[in-house]
Amino acid sequence: MTLVVVVVLLAVFVMVVGGAVLVRSRRYPELEPPDIEAAAEPLLAADHDRLPPPVVTPEEAAAVEAEALGLPEPPPAPGRPRIRDRLGKARGLITGYVGSVLSRSSIDDSSWDDIEEALIRADVGVATTGTLIDNLRQRVKSDSLDTPEQLLSALRDQLKADLAVEDRRLHLAETGTNVWLFVGVNGVGKTTTIGKLGLRRAAEGNRVVMAAGDTFRAAAAEQLQTWAERVGADLVRGAEGGDPGAVVFDAVQRAAARGADLVLADTAGRLHTKVNLMEELRKVHRVAQREPGVVSEVLLVIDATTGQNGLTQAREFAEAVGVTGVVLTKLDGTAKGGIVLAIQAELGIPVKLVGVGEGPEDLIDFDPDEFVDALFAA
């Protein structure tokens, strides 16, 4: 096998040096290979009257559900579940630490250890936990707190304060066709969240168009189509393996033509480490911005079970497409979703929605008080 080993070594060279070539080329953005998409863009920006026909093939256009003009009656407004109702059964862990802290007569080192452990086990992360505890210690000192009850209520306040933001509404621009873009790594719940949110918007009397921007994963469009039918939304889909930007573009056109209020744009799950896929996402975002499209929300979907990688995800997606809010899904499981504390602390991106199950009504507005109280609920 000597030969193979030589070649492996060679591969090391090919890659170290070839890698260097590639790294170098990345440093020079003007070297980006020409592509049709980019070439088409200036033209679009320059002259709206001479718009080329939308970037959709006939098959794509044909695939679009034709009879969607007459929207079915919007389903009745769902009763909104509250975080606490859904989380009750999974909260044992933090409760255990709370009990442990309360069982002592004063605040001692073990109390701090308990709090640290509780936060880390909720996936808040070492760094954010450290800051939180430092702040809390200061508070305990400055306010001369000395009972475990006082400590816990200070912790709650601290958590709530850390999660507080002025505005966590989902925004809609006054003019133009609003697009909410859903992004995130694979399997976090993007498509499902669009389904649930579509139902909610429809129930509130809005006309919703869903864009099946995941042209990559097998049967992704079928999945969204099921949701569209379920909630009575218009669906625009493209050819499998086709250009996701084209699908979103077409959806915006359609929404504009039919006077729909909002486009909910799905995208394929992608790991934030894949440069070309992140580039593709940027492109989708740009295309969605083309008149009359206005991207008024970019929602990063984060699975509550996510560990410390969630922070990196948020950073990278925010860098690429300017994330405006987080959707925290799967909070109906045992996971606490503490990573959103780190995301809020480090990047200032607020959580806007919470997913608490697979059903159409299992979506709620994020409320930090409820979230924190639920964390401590006995």
Partner: protein
């Protein structure tokens, strides 16, 4: 995955190595650092605590030993503990004496079960089996359609029916028997462990099909809940192993460690990309080395052996021996390397890869660009790039849809690479030249051990500042510095590689 963990350890160990004796405070500092590193890698809190307790105990017991320095003792202990957790045998599938061998996949929502089912189908097919996929996820919209598409891609039939999951599983087993399919892979819906009804459902599926292997599919990005999740599924299904998915990302994957420690079941397979071939048996013992910064050389070599075309390898060896490695050879090698999987993940296996390169996000599409440029050259140009003048350059750029600047850059880099390989080529060529048949076995003196050592030297090179100087103040890779290194005589780099390969240094020595 584990890169950051190993980097962390290396930082600590480097400090330990540089100190003679180790005070008790040192031990505590080290343990604190290790704790941080493990927690940041999403190793479960409890697992970290137990691990540290064991390490501390062992460190105290070891203080009597005189054979190793205290620093070495700590390193050795940590290493052993990690191997102790991750280690053990690679899982081997034993096929049922009365087919089909039934594989049951279970896990949380979005972990990647359906994709894994498709990949397993392909994997078994490649192992010479006739698998059947069963779509028992009737919960998520279009899950069965997804499985059908994946099955078609893998060339594996898919069975499902819109009844209920238990009935599908039972019918699928009967279908496998009827069709003489010898492996049945059952995909189930994702479920949260607190949903008693759904947990009961998966138990009934299991009871109905009596799986030979039950795998928990776990997302490598999972945090502290990996343990709770694995325990719950283990209590319900008696797991045989874990399949770790999305390992091609940058999650550190502490779950592998945590689950093994708590439920005692190893990671059997790893999924490292969205394509069906991005999937393989997981080697837990190798992962321990990877944590400790030794790279995943064994996997790399294995992959090379599997995917490298013997003939192409021989041609490359010959080119090396003759001291001429052309763009044509480069293209051919690149082709082979690409077969080994996504470039990024291969880079990840390489020990001593500078972080900047590892995180450089080398996308296969960018490689395609390099390829396009070379392909737009005539064979003569590929052999003699010096021929490429202005007009040829323009033609090549146009032919490959790139820029003359790209072409220039590639040529320049390639020249540097040739220079870098020159000494190695000369030596290998010289030795083999003495009477050995060209390309024959045992030609040259490069042994596998030597090669591994050589790779390790790459890391040393980095530690010695060879690579360090490559990063600018912004921490980004500085291309100018890198091309400087590629020129022969980079600070100690190639020399140490040569040394460890047992090759004499041509001309002046670096040190």
């Amino acid at each position: 995955m584990f890169e950051s963990l190993s980097e962390r350890f290396e930082g600590i160990f480097a400090r330990l190595r540089s100190r003679g004796a180790l005070s008790e405070a040192d031990v505590d500092e080290v343990l604190r650092e290790i704790r941080l590193a493990l927690l940041e890698a999403d190793v479960n809190f409890k697992v970290v605590r137990d691990l540290l307790t064991r390490i501390r105990e062992r460190c105290i017991g070891l203080e009597l030993s005189k054979s190793l320095s205290p620093g070495q003792q700590v390193i050795k202990t940590v290493h052993e503990e990690l191997i102790g957790i991750l280690g053990g045998q690679t899982l081997r599938i034993t096929y049922a004496s009365k087919p089909p061998t039934v594989i049951l996949l279970a896990g949380l929502q979005g972990a990647g079960k359906t994709t894994v089912a498709g990949k397993l189908g392909r994997w078994f097919r490649q192992a010479g089996r006739q698998p059947l996929l069963a779509g028992a996820d009737l919960q998520r919209p279009a899950a069965v359609e997804q499985l059908r598409v994946l099955g078609a891609q893998a060339g594996v039939p898919v069975f499902s029916q819109p009844t209920d999951p238990v009935a599908v599983a039972v019918a699928a087993r009967a279908e496998a028997e009827r069709l003489g399919r010898d492996v049945l892979i059952v995909d189930t819906a994702g479920r949260v462990t607190v949903d008693a009804d759904l947990m009961d459902e998966v138990r009934r599926i299991s009871e109905a099909v009596r799986p030979d292997y039950t795998f928990l599919v776990v997302d490598a990005m999972i945090g502290q809940e990996s343990v709770t999740t694995a325990e719950a599924f283990h209590a319900t299904l008696a797991l045989d192993g874990v399949i770790l998915t999305k390992l091609d990302g940058d999650a550190r994957g502490g779950a592998a460690l945590s689950i093994k420690e708590v439920v005692g079941r190893p990671v059997a397979f790893a999924s490292i990309g969205e394509k069906q071939e991005d999937f393989d048996v997981f080697h837990p013992d190798r992962m321990a080395s990877r944590i400790l910064g030794m790279g995943d050389v064994l996997t790399l070599i294995e992959k090379a052996e599997q995917n490298y075309d013997q003939e192409v390898a021989e041609r490359a060896a010959a080119a090396l021996q003759q001291g001429r490695f052309t763009l044509e050879d480069f293209l051919e090698q690149l082709q082979q390397v690409k077969k080994m999987g996504p470039l990024q993940s291969i880079l990840g296996m390489m020990p001593g890869m500078p972080k900047e390169l590892k995180n450089a996000n080398i996308e296969d599409s960018e490689v395609a660009r390099v390829e396009a440029i070379i392909r737009s050259m005539t064979p003569t140009e590929r052999r003699e790039p010096d021929l490429i003048n202005g007009s040829r350059r323009l033609r090549i750029a146009q032919g490959s849809g790139t820029d003359t600047k790209d072409v220039n850059q590639l040529l320049k880099q390639f020249k540097e690479m040739q220079k870098m390989m020159q000494p190695l080529m000369a030596v290998t060529g010289g030795r083999v030249g003495k009477g050995k048949k060209k390309g024959g076995r045992g030609g040259g003196r490069v042994t596998p051990k030597g090669a591994i050592a050589g790779m390790r030297e790459l890391r040393k090179m980095q530690a010695m500042g060879g690579m360090e100087g490559l990063t600018g103040s912004d921490g980004k890779l500085d291309p100018e510095a890198l091309s400087g290194l590629a020129g022969a005589g980079g600070p100690g780099g190639l020399d140490s590689i040569r040394e460890s390969l047992g090759l004499p240094s041509p001309g002046q020595r670096g040190r």
